[in-house]
């Protein structure tokens, strides 16, 4: 492997490319990073070429998200849109026993093979991996990122709920764009990202969304859960959200913050289960309390205006009880099970569980728990859909349509 000649101190001279996993949340994350001087660009390229490019450099049996992300990066670098001497790539790394922790290494390998030895690969992570190549997470940056994700989740949830019932087509999207712009400029101006600001702004945002004229009718409520990338990313799930919207469903994606909280919670759980690093466990516990407090505020704001608000993270952690142990912490682990139950309990009994073909953790925490969940919640109507470079849309949509047909029948009962 050749040296990239990159030094972390020069990072702000670089254009940093980041895959756009979840549109609303990542728009704000971009703003948060820009405000700290990182020139971040989001990659949303979606073409057949992206997957094909990925397949050239990544083993076919590797998970689909790795194929897509790496394909997207290489496609971007080849396009001539970016100067290879001042471009860096960045991805998040959750760490843990899932093979996804390997993305960064696979990306490095692919870049070297594709002749982009000089392109540095940066990591966002909390687990101490890739120490030399990690973006420095200052308390201020962390604060902004948390704000970006919290605001993003709130706006995303409001969008989906308004979208389903809007009277004038396009209103929900317009309102969403308006708020994304607003919050982005706050972040750029370093405003309203402190906890007390957010607690004030959440109700204001929710209030403003009530100005989108809606008419609540009886609709099929469909939740999407799954492997984090495939769940959120339209290129990962073949624009599942759009498909469901076309089928006249109300769509709900449990927020991105839940996943981050899950990662933090796992550090604490490791200390509970195996007695590892008890101090770290305590710190994580405190962080969780703070973040969860924010979530609860957002949720209360939503509920007070008649929108749907999620349970607090503490409550969510209790959901898998009797079905899956909180010790299952690889991939989306117990969170996946918890989110399914949370959705069911809040009326979203129809669920698409989306994962890359051959996703190991989901054999356990996704497909493995469906039987038990159905025992406990007979109304649950869950379909597991696998995504990979050559599975066809027809096949996937057909399965989802089946789930929808059953859901419609349940609705009529």
């Amino acid at each position: 492997m050749k040296e990239t000649g990159f030094e972390m101190k020069d990072v702000k001279e670089y254009t940093i490319l980041v895959p756009n996993m979840a549109f609303n949340q990542f728009t704000l994350i971009q703003a948060a990073l820009l405000s700290e001087g990182y020139h971040v660009e989001l990659l949303s390229t979606a073409s057949a070429e992206v997957a094909q490019m990925g397949l050239q450099y990544v083993h076919n049996d590797t998970c689909y998200p790795a194929v897509l992300i790496i394909g997207q990066f290489i496609e971007a670098l080849r396009s001539g849109r970016y100067d290879p001497d001042s471009t860096a790539l960045a991805i998040t790394q959750s760490g843990g026993g899932c093979r996804a922790s390997n993305y960064i290494k696979l990306l490095r390998k692919a870049l070297d093979q594709a002749g982009f030895h000089q392109i540095p690969v940066l990591s966002f992570n909390f687990s101490g991996l890739e120490k030399d190549m990690s973006l420095k997470l200052t308390p201020k940056l962390i604060g902004k990122l948390v704000a970006a994700v919290e605001y993003g989740d709130l706006i995303d949830g409001l969008y989906h709920e308004c979208k389903a019932y809007e009277i004038n087509e396009g209103d929900a999207r317009n309102k969403t764009v308006e708020w994304l712009d607003q919050v982005s400029s706050w972040l750029l101006e370093e405003k309203n990202f402190h906890i007390h600001d957010m607690k004030k702004m959440f109700p204001a945002i929710v209030k403003d969304f009530t100005r989108v004229p809606i008419k609540r009718t009886e609709k099929l409520k469909v939740g999407i859960v799954g492997e984090i990338y495939v769940k959120f990313s339209p290129i990962g799930n073949r624009d599942l959200v759009h498909f469901l919207e076309q089928q006249d469903c109300e769509v709900r994606l449990p927020g991105l913050m839940g996943y981050i909280e899950y990662c933090i919670a796992n550090m604490k759980l490791d200390s509970d289960f195996y007695g590892m690093k008890p101090m770290l466990g305590k710190i994580c516990d405190q962080i969780l309390s703070i973040v969860d407090g924010l979530g609860t505020t957002a949720s209360d704001a939503l509920k007070s205006e008649g929108f749907h608000g999620e349970s607090s993270f503490r409550e969510i952690m209790e959901k898998p009880e009797g079905i899956l142990s909180l010790g299952v912490k690889m991939g989306e682990g117990w969170l996946l099970t918890a989110e399914m139950i949370e959705l069911i309990e809040s009326g979203f009994t129809n669920i698409v569980c989306a994962q890359p073909f051959g996703c190991l953790p989901n054999h356990i925490a996704g497909k493995g728990v469906i039987r038990r969940i159905r025992e406990k919640y007979p109304q649950a109507n869950i379909t597991a859909v696998d995504y990979d470079p050559s599975s066809t849309k027809v096949n996937q949509e057909n399965r989802i349509r089946l789930m929808l047909a059953v859901g419609k029948e349940n609705l009529q009962k």
Partner: protein, 975 residues
């Protein structure tokens, strides 16, 4: 009046119902992918049948979605439609099993409605049966009839069609009875349906069989009945349930004339396309003429020829024969389908040769290919050689400095890299990726074309379809989608050719650019006669290659060349005489070997000379009567050692069951000791076998998990039958820490499989199924956790006793590991003393299970090599740099073992990879680069529920051939 149309993947079905719900008209037709035309035609018929009356119309079926949307006809999902019909027509039904052209469905109607469809991997069932029938050269109804007379069953992979095909082909080649194969194929369909779809629910009560395959095949229904222990019925109109459902469910009156009009304007949305293969005819002719130059010298086979050499390549579906003179000139050749039995074909060829050329001296006869052994025994040929070497020999005749050879045949694909005159890298298509000649053939005939015509169509397609690169099953649906999107047959033909190439390049060889292959490439195998494939290859790689004019004959030609070099000038072949050929007779019989747990299906070939030849065996036992001395096989040693623990029982009131699965294959010494010391009687499940596997298949929630994981269900079910008081099977995020990696995780499956067991098997309550979360890498913490846990379940135990047991358990685990390491050292020492090569058969601890490793260990020792494991040598290395994240304990051992291998002259590594192991996608690349960096060959064997011993043999033999060649060239260089 109501009408329904079911537009499926291969057929289209229509019904018209009168106001009482009686069927007054129905039709069932194959659409050969002319979906739009057939739909229109059927609508016109419906319109006629309905007369002037107002009509309620609905569409259903996987291919009907887009059309319905466009034509403004209500659409209902097909499984759901089926349910609507069943509820009306057969209200007492508990469960529906429906097989369609490409999908399988189970609907549970009573006791909590649930509907299941096969996942994207499980592939086609109807199409699969059709494929198998054509492989057996039978019509579907003949196959059904044959299967009803079956006497025995073979195990055929029940995962996906492509796998099954690789199982069926060797059976045909070995001469197994077609009626038995037919029945086994139906059984595979049954197993696939149950494993994939039951997911923990028992199929019982009143069963309804629907869909084409179940309607047409009694044998298939019988297989289901027997397997499920039920008596299902196949009702009248069983083909039309979806169509009837569509008619009943929808409630919109439709004017067919308007629908037809709308369909007329059906503009396809377009599809992803690739640049054309040729820009114009000129370009084509240039290309064509360039390739015409790579021709072998042919001379007439007349009286001037004094001495000849014969090469026979007995492949999986074809037989190829080449006759050459002493100078390598081609005199005669033959290339034809083996019709399932190559022996009579070769016999008549040889007889003809003797008759036409009574004077000629046969210098040598050399055999290669799957049927090599059979040919050698049948005709007493001189030499046999592994087909990779045969192909290499032939390729270097056309291009002496060849770097890379790609051979795509009917069933298999072999690609190899040549370095310093030796095969340095071998890629075979794993059982999951098809993409070979027969793949194109299958599509051609499915679309109603002859293979060659079909290939020609693609040459000048303007917009070839971009179909990606995956196995046939996926390809089926991609083709379907492309057609729906308006792709022409030409575009599909070209697209398929490109996909074959992409499959070879990116899936089998896994190359990123042409530099990795080298500049001098020879492509061969029958598939490259297809100019569309050849062109696609050159375009994809941006390089001009050599395609010999005898591309399909290269194995045979290479074998003949090999023989001509090997035989001395005076050598006369040992081939049987003309008289013997006249007298020749050959019969086969099948037996199941009872020698060991593998229970190989043996084919016994008896020849006129009373000479017998046994095939299908994994070890020498059925031939020589005794196993190859197991003392140089660490797999055998480990097995025996682990079974030793199962024998130890202590008198106790409480029985603890431990499943011998996944990580328990390593931790059994630990847990067995732990519980025995505490005074429990430990019952260990035995080594896996098919019966044990079958006991748990209906509770597997995810059919794409790896086979070792799926086996767990059977072991637990076995333990439940032993009246144990508890089953102990802990979850472990972390593995033992041997300091070889950055972390010491287990893979998610090993770590959490107990959770899957708890959630998907009955009777797993908290007090019975003990599955604590434990971490063995920290003794103090483990001790305190275990004390708490054990006291909760067994309050009478004292903490001090528990702690004592933990200490002894650690001690025993250490002893066990130490013993394995010592044994490895003994084996290495002894192998060196005897001058034997040493193979590190590297996998995971559970690969010791004979049902998982398919006896590959003994297949290796058969070639006079010693076998050791990765964990027996990994300790000799220190932690090292890897280019992937090295955070799983088992993988860290693998990398260390690979590195150690590179330091030992007489040691090579073969990696066992279980299908569906997502992590091995990563480890395979890394292991390969470690070995290559150390100038060693990388060999991988992919294993699943079933493996094809033929392919495994090629790998093993090619490795040994290359090792031998390297050794010889090394010695040549020394002097």
């Amino acid at each position: 009046m109501r009408a329904g149309l079911d537009i499926g993947s291969t057929t289209i079905k229509g019904v018209v119902l009168d106001d009482d719900g009686q069927i007054i008209w129905s039709s069932y037709e194959r659409h050969y992918s002319h979906i739009l035309e057939k739909t229109e035609e059927m609508l016109r018929q419906i319109s006629k049948a309905a007369g002037e009356q107002p009509l309620i119309l609905g569409f259903s079926g996987s291919a009907g979605m887009g059309i319905a949307e466009h034509a403004g006809v209500p659409f209902v999902q097909e499984v759901y439609a089926e349910r609507v019909s069943a509820v009306k027509l057969n209200p007492e039904t508990d469960c529906i099993i429906e097989l369609g052209g490409e999908d399988a469905k189970i609907l549970f109607l009573s006791g909590g409605m649930e509907v299941r469809m096969n996942g994207s991997c499980a592939g086609g069932t109807g199409a699969f049966i059709d494929q198998m029938a054509s492989l057996l050269k039978m019509k579907p109804d003949e196959m059904d009839e044959a299967a009803q007379k079956a006497e025995r069953q073979y195990t055929i992979a029940s995962r996906c069609g492509v796998f099954a095909k690789t199982d069926v082909q060797p059976l045909i080649n070995q001469g197994a009875d077609h009626k038995d194969i037919a029945a086994s194929i139906y059984q595979a369909v049954v197993n696939q349906t149950i494993t994939g779809l039951a997911q923990g629910r028992t199929i019982t009560g009143n069963i309804l069989y629907l869909g084409g395959p179940l309607t047409f095949s009694k044998a298939l229904r019988d297989r289901f009945d027997e397997t499920l222990g039920v008596k299902g019925i196949c009702p009248d109109h069983s083909l039309y349930y979806v169509a009837i459902g569509a008619a009943l469910y929808c409630d919109q009156q439709i004017d067919i004339a308007i629908v037809l009009e709308k369909m007329n304007s059906y503009e396809s949305v377009g599809y992803a396309s690739l640049p054309p293969l040729f820009r114009n005819r000129d370009e084509y002719w240039q290309f064509h003429n360039r390739h015409a130059k790579a021709a072998v010298t042919r001379i007439p086979f007349d009286a001037s020829v004094k001495r000849i050499h014969i090469g026979i390549d007995s492949g999986s579906t074809t037989i190829k024969i080449a006759v050459i003179d002493d100078d390598g000139n081609l005199l005669s050749d033959d290339y034809r389908s083996n019709d399932g039995n190559p022996v009579p074909i070769v016999r008549s060829f040889l007889m003809e040769l003797y008759e036409k050329h009574p004077e000629v001296i046969i210098g040598s006869v050399t055999c290669t290919g799957y049927g090599e052994e059979l040919m050698r025994h049948a005709f007493n040929c001189d030499y046999g050689l592994v087909e990779t070497v045969a192909h290499f020999t032939a390729a270097s005749h056309f291009m002496p400095d060849v770097d890379f050879i790609i051979d795509i045949g009917g069933q298999d694909m072999k690609c190899f890299r040549i370095e310093d005159g030796v095969i340095s890298d071998l890629f075979l298509n794993e059982a999951c990726s098809s993409g070979c000649g027969s793949f194109l053939q299958t599509f051609a005939s499915a679309l109603g074309y002859d293979t060659q015509d079909f290939a020609r169509l693609g040459l000048f397609a303007e917009k070839p379809v971009d179909l990606g690169s995956r196995c046939t099953v996926f390809m089926n649906s991609s083709v379907k989608q492309a057609q729906k999107d308006g792709a022409s047959i030409e575009a599909i033909s070209a697209g398929l050719a490109v996909s074959v190439v992409k499959n070879a390049l990116y899936k089998v060889i896994r190359c990123a650019n042409v530099e990795q292959l080298g500049r001098n490439i020879v492509v061969q195998g029958g598939t490259f006669y297809n100019e569309a494939v050849l062109r696609a290859f050159e375009k994809e790689m941006g390089v001009e290659v050599i395609r010999p004019d005898i591309a399909g004959l290269m194995g045979a030609y290479g074998a003949a060349l090999y023989g001509s070099r090997k035989a001395s000038k005076e050598h006369v072949s040992s081939l049987i005489s003309y008289d013997d050929l006249v007298q020749f007779h050959h019969s086969t019989s099948q037996i199941t070997c009872q020698g060991c747990g593998n229970h190989c299906q043996l084919t016994v070939n008896t020849f006129a000379s009373r000479h017998k030849m046994i095939s299908g065996n994994r070890c020498e036992k059925p031939i020589t009567g005794h196993q190859v001395e197991p003392s140089l096989n660490l797999y055998a040693y480990k097995q025996k050692k682990l079974l030793g623990y199962s024998q130890i029982h202590v008198p106790s009131k409480v029985k603890i069951g431990i499943p011998l699965v996944l990580n328990m294959y390593e931790l059994l010494p630990f847990w067995h000791t732990f519980f025995t010391v505490l005074g429990f009687d430990v019952v260990v499940s035995p080594l896996s076998n098919q019966q044990i596997y079958a006991m748990g298949t209906s509770t597997i929630p995810s059919d794409t998990a790896c086979f070792p994981a799926k086996l767990t269900h059977g072991h637990i079910a076995w333990l439940q039958k032993q009246d144990v008081d508890h089953i102990f099977y802990p979850c472990m995020s972390y593995n033992v820490d041997e300091g070889l990696g950055d972390n010491h995780y287990n893979c998610p499956i090993v770590a959490y499989y107990p959770e899957n067991i708890r959630d998907n098997m009955d009777g797993m309550n908290e007090s019975y199924f003990l599955e604590p979360f434990l971490d063995l890498s920290d003794r103090e913490k483990l001790m305190s956790h275990l004390c708490d846990y054990m006291k909760e379940h067994f309050p009478y135990l004292h903490r001090s006793r528990i702690m004592h047991a933990v200490n002894l358990a650690y001690q025993e685990y250490e002893n066990y590991m130490q013993d394995v390491r010592c044994q490895a050292d003994r084996i290495i020492h002894e192998a060196r003393r005897q001058g034997k090569h040493i193979i590190v058969l590297a996998g995971r601890p559970y690969h010791v299970d004979p049902l998982i490793n398919h006896g590959i260990d003994t297949m290796i020792t058969k070639y006079h090599a010693a076998v050791i494991t990765e964990d027996s040598i990994s300790w000799k290395m220190k932690k090292m740099e890897t280019s992937v994240l090295n955070q799983w304990s088992y993988h860290a051992r693998l990398y260390a073992a690979a590195r150690y291998c590179t330091t030992q002259m007489d040691m090579d590594l073969i990696q066992l990879v279980s299908f569906g192991c997502g992590l091995d996608a990563i480890t395979a690349d890394e292991t390969s680069s470690i070995l290559h960096a150390g100038n060693k060959l990388y060999t991988q064997i992919k294993i699943d529920e079933i493996t094809n011993p033929g392919a495994v043999n090629i790998r093993i033999r090619s490795l040994f051939a290359a090792v031998q060649e390297r050794k010889e060239s090394h010695e040549r260089n020394r002097f």
